[in-house]
Each structure stands twice: as C-alpha cells, then as structure tokens.
C-alpha cells in the first residue's frame, strides 16, 4: 500500500515513516509543505495520504486545504488527517462529500500503534476513522427531548465506536462482546434513532455520522 506522508516536523515525519513501514506500508513520498504535498498527490497517485493539518508555508490549515482539493480532483482519494487538535468544523468538511475514505485523528493517537495502523488501513480501504474526541463532543450532553437520550449506556458505547468507523467485528472486540450481541444492539439503536442501516459497514458509519452532525 503506497502512502504519501505530509508532516513538517522532521522527528514526527521520521517517526511516522518508521511506524508505517514497520506495518507494511510503502512510503511513496514524505513531504514537508503544502505545495509539495499537492505535487506528490498528483504525481504519485497514492493509495493513502497521511496529512498534517498545519503545514508551511502559511502554517494555517494548508494540509487540510490541499487534501480537500485533491479529493475534489480525485473523489474518494483516501485521506487520513492528523492534527494537534480536533475540530468538529474540520470533521464536517472532510465528511461533506459523503464519499468516506477519510480519517481525522489527533496526533497523539500514534502512541497506540495498532489502533493507528488499523485506522490507516480502514481509511485506505474506503472506511472512516474519526477521533474518539470528535465523537465524544457529538454524543455529549444531549437535550432531554433528543432521541439519543433514549439509548441505553451500552447502545451509546456501540454508537460511539461505530461513529469512529469501526466494523461490528471491531466493536465486538473492543467491548469484549460477541458479534451477535453487537448486531442486536445496533438494530435496536438504529430503530430508536430511525437511521436507515445498510449492511455495508462504510455506508452505515457515514449514516451514523450524518445523523449525529445534523442533529
């Protein structure tokens, strides 16, 4: 799997390169600025772009802008965005085209290499990886009349993990439950929230995120 990596801090760039190579990714290009990233994405045609939001020369949201532009050129180009902070605003922009194949994670998630690599693979495969912190704000402090308030504690947990982009199997593993139990929970919570749930994991995750965002 060929990856274009954009990160301006040398140490982090090297660290990420090492981590990804260790787990069988091939680094097609490791760049340090927005324009370089735009070039690399156009020329190398990677299977996945791992992009830091803040890049030179502007040190604003250069990385995010280049990634979004590249996805307009090539819809569905898998992009995993890393940042020191997560904003729902950015999550919405990444999810706006409804195609999926996006990830948005805090940089410190690389501390847990397995989960990070898992998220990268998921995004490359057309799935979604949303940071738990983004999902936590989406699920937080529901109003009393909100359908979310009618969910059981367990259903909420399942919903949160699904919104992060995990498949039923992965959710089951995280919660140490059987897959059967998980699918029972999902059927129930989709009923309560009136979400159309397809069998396909990706489409289901996007439906959940769309529901949470438009609430």
């Amino acid at each position: 799997m060929r990856v274009v990596l954009a990160e301006d801090l040398y140490l982090l760039r090297e660290g990420l390169t090492l981590l990804l190579e260790e787990h069988g990714f091939e680094i097609a290009a490791a760049v340090a600025s927005g324009p370089e990233l735009a070039n690399a994405l156009a020329e190398r045609n990677p299977d996945l772009a791992v992009v830091d939001v803040r890049l030179p020369p502007t040190f604003t949201d250069e990385g995010l802008k280049v990634a979004l532009a590249a996805r307009r050129e090539r819809p569905g180009l898998p992009v995993l965005v890393l940042s020191q902070h997560v904003e729902q605003l950015y999550a919405r922009e990444l999810l706006a085209d409804g195609v999926g194949a996006v990830g948005y994670l805090l940089k410190d998630r690389v501390f847990n290499a397995e989960q990070f690599v898992d998220a990268a693979r998921r995004v490359a495969g057309g799935g979604t990886a949303m940071d738990p912190k983004v999902i936590a704000t989406l699920l937080a402090d529901t109003r009393r009349d909100d359908p979310l308030a009618s969910l059981t504690e367990r259903e909420r947990e399942v919903l949160g993990l699904m919104a992060q982009g995990l498949s039923n199997a992965a959710v089951a593993q995280r919660l140490s439950l059987s897959e059967g139990a998980i699918s029972k929970h999902t059927t129930s919570l989709f009923g309560k929230l009136a979400i159309e749930a397809g069998a396909d994991t990706n489409r289901r995750v996007l439906a959940v995120l769309a529901y949470l965002h438009n609430r």
Partner: protein, 402 residues
C-alpha cells in the same frame, strides 16, 4: 418642589457670589507663593486652593450638573520634584486659575440678581420705616418701594435658573477636557491590559510548571526505572514503559488544553469567522450562526472577540437554561459587530457576574462597547462592537443552521 427652592437657591447663589471674590484672593495668594518661593510654598498653595474649585464642583450638583474632577492621577511613589512637576504640568491647574480669575466677573454678573434681592429688600424697608422721611415725597417713596420689591421678586424667581446657568459656566473650565478624559480612560485600560497579560503569563507559567514539565520529569524517571529493570525483570520493564507512554499522552493532552486557552489553533488557522463557527458547533444546543466577515481582523481583536463569545456561550449553557442560541458576527462601517442571543431565563446582570464585567473591561481596551439586555424571563441579548480594520479581503459569507 416646594416654594423653599427659590429662597434656598437665592441664598446659595449669594454665597457663591461672595466666595467668588474670596476665590480671587486665593488665586492671587497662590500665584504670589509660586512666583516668590517656587515649589516650597507653591505646592501647598496649589494643593490647598483646589479646595475651592472642588467645592464649586460639588455646588454644581445642586443644579443637577455633574462636573468630574479633572486632575491627573499621581503615581504613589512620586517625590517632591515629581509632585511639583505633576502640579505645574497639569492643564487643570491652569484652567482652575483661569476660572478663579474670571469667576468674580462672569460668575458675579450671572449671580448678581440673587445678591440684589436682600439689598432690594433692605432698600424697601428704608422708605417704609420713614428714615427718608422728608427727603422724598410720598409718590416717589411708593415708587421706590415698588421698584425694590420688583427687583427682589425677580431675584428670587430667577435664582434657581441662574444657579443652573452658573453651574454650566463653571463646567466650561472646571470639568476635564476631552483629552483629559481620554487620557484617563487610556491609562486605565492600559494598566488593566498590562495586568491581565501579566496574570495570563503567570497562569501559563504555573500550568507548564505543575503540568507538562512535572509530568515529563515523571516520564523520564519511569523510563529510567524501566531501563534498570530491563534485564532482570522484562515484564516489569514493559509495565513501566506502558506507564511512561500513558503519562506522555496525558502531558500532550494538558499541553493541548493549555494551547487552546492561550490561542485556539482554529483561530490562527482559519480566523475569527470559522473559529466562532467551530465554537458554536461544540455547543450542545440548537444554534444558528450568521457570519459575514470577508477577511481577517487584527489578531488581538480576533482573540478578544473569540474569548468573549466563548465566555458568553459558557454562560448560556451554564446559567440561562436556554434551548437555542443565535450568534451573529458582522463587519460593517469599520466595526466588528457581534450579537449573542439566547432564549433562556434572562436576568443576567453585568454587576452581578465577574465574567460579564471582565468581558466589558477587556473590550474597553479596544474602545469596544458591550451592551446587555436581559429582562427576567429572557431573552438575553448581548451586543458587542469593536472598532477595527479588515485585512486580506476574501469572501467567506455563510450561515448555518443546526
């Protein structure tokens, strides 16, 4: 209002009339002190004579005219030389002098009818009591008495009005000039801005010292322990390394919160418009934003506006019991205008909460305004305006409902 207002005003006017001449003598004495002895007697003389304009300022409140003291603030640690410089460089000293010089003339003319009243009354008594008996004929005497009563009546009837006119004349020279008022305001907001900056720096220092710095020392020690345990007890070493990793994650989280408190990254990445949009998205309320900000404003203004809105939204969530909040951000006529409205319980009061007062003070440093309307039962609306300039025009007008 009783009839007593008239004689009272007359007495007050007469008293001020007499004092005007006493004030003139005070002026002459103080000028002589300054000219002959310099600061030696000049300082006590100028300080003492301020008593008279101060008294007059207080008198003006009889007529409902408010005159603020115009004198500059003296810094606490000033010595003799600084005290002298402070007195003779203060424009208010010269304006006081001018007023004391002119007061017997201008004030004298204005207050004259009031002073004439007792004179006229006395004059009326003389022909009646017969002292002038034989000097004038009856007809002339009646005329004199009538004239005296007319003068007295006019004096009494016009006394309150003249007192007011006198207060307004006083205000011309004894109130602070626009420059002085502005100077006061700038001094105040500057010292507040400096103080709050110093406070902020102290807070950051403490947070770093007690937070990330301490935690990283802990991480270093844990890794050291893991190193030592590596050979004899690999399981223990693994456990320690895991602990070190967790501590590092915690330190990163703390640093992130700290950075957010100093300058939210989304603010520096996207500017005020998107930062407010991001902020509103975090609110778990129904919300509506209307943002019309075609460009960026100065970083300091962005930051002040952002934190003001953040604090208002926190208030809405915590205290208002609202179900919906509206945030409106627009730039027009060289002003940034922010409106935050909620449908909560109202009853917010700037005097009651230090938070609102703090926002008002911070905006004052930008010559900004802060208006709160919050009747009991709601809704609460806060309007803030900050004069500023717009740079790098670029369109990003949008509204969003959720």
């Amino acid at each position: 209002m009783t009839v007593w207002v008239y004689p009272l005003a007359m007495v007050r006017a007469a008293a001020q009339f007499v004092l005007a001449f006493a004030g003139f003598i005070l002026l002459v004495v103080s000028v002589l002190c300054v000219l002959l002895t310099g600061p030696l007697l000049g300082i006590p003389a100028i300080l003492t004579r301020r008593w008279w304009p101060d008294l007059t300022r207080r008198f003006a409140s009889w007529s409902g005219v408010r005159i603020d003291r115009p004198y500059r603030q003296l810094r606490e640690s000033a010595g003799f030389r600084a005290l002298w410089k402070w007195l003779i460089s203060d424009p208010a000293t010269y304006r006081d002098s001018a007023w004391m010089l002119l007061e017997p003339l201008v004030g004298g003319v204005i207050l004259l009818p009031a002073v004439l009243t007792p004179v006229a009354l006395a004059g009326a008594v003389i022909p009646v009591s017969g002292w002038w008996f034989g000097i004038a004929g009856w007809g002339l005497r009646v005329l004199l008495v009538a004239a005296c009563f007319v003068v007295a009546a006019v004096g009494i009837a016009t006394a309150p009005a003249l007192l007011r006119v006198h207060a307004k004349w006083t205000k011309v020279l004894l109130s602070p000039t626009r420059t002085t008022v502005r100077l006061h305001q700038l001094e105040e907001t500057r010292s507040e801005a400096l103080e709050s900056e110093a406070r902020e720096v102290r807070r950051i220092e403490r947070d770093l010292h007690d937070g990330a710095q301490a935690r990283l020392i802990g991480v270093g020690m844990t890794i050291g322990a893991a190193e030592r345990a590596f050979d004899r007890d690999p399981d223990r070493a693994k456990e320690l390394l895991l602990k070190a990793r967790e501590s590092t994650a915690l330190a990163v989280r703390e640093l992130r919160d700290l950075v957010h408190g100093i300058l939210p990254p989304v603010l520096s990445e996207r500017g005020l418009g998107d930062a407010v949009r991001a902020l509103v998205l975090e609110q778990r309320l129904a919300r509506e934003t209307q943002i019309d900000l075609p460009g960026r404003v100065a970083a300091a203004v962005e930051s002040a506006a952002y934190f003001a809105i953040a604090e208002l939204l926190t208030n809405v969530t915590k205290h208002a019991g609202a179900t919906k909040v509206w945030v409106d951000l627009a730039f027009a006529r060289e002003r940034l205008r922010i409106v935050v409205l909620d449908d909560g319980c109202g009853g917010a009061d700037v005097a009651a909460g230090s938070g609102l007062r703090g926002i008002e003070r911070r905006l004052a440093a930008f010559d900004g305004s802060f208006t709160l309307t919050s009747p009991p039962g709601g809704p609460t609306m806060v309007t803030m305006e900050i004069p500023c300039a717009l740079s790098s025009p670029r369109t990003c007008t949008s509204s969003e409902k959720a």
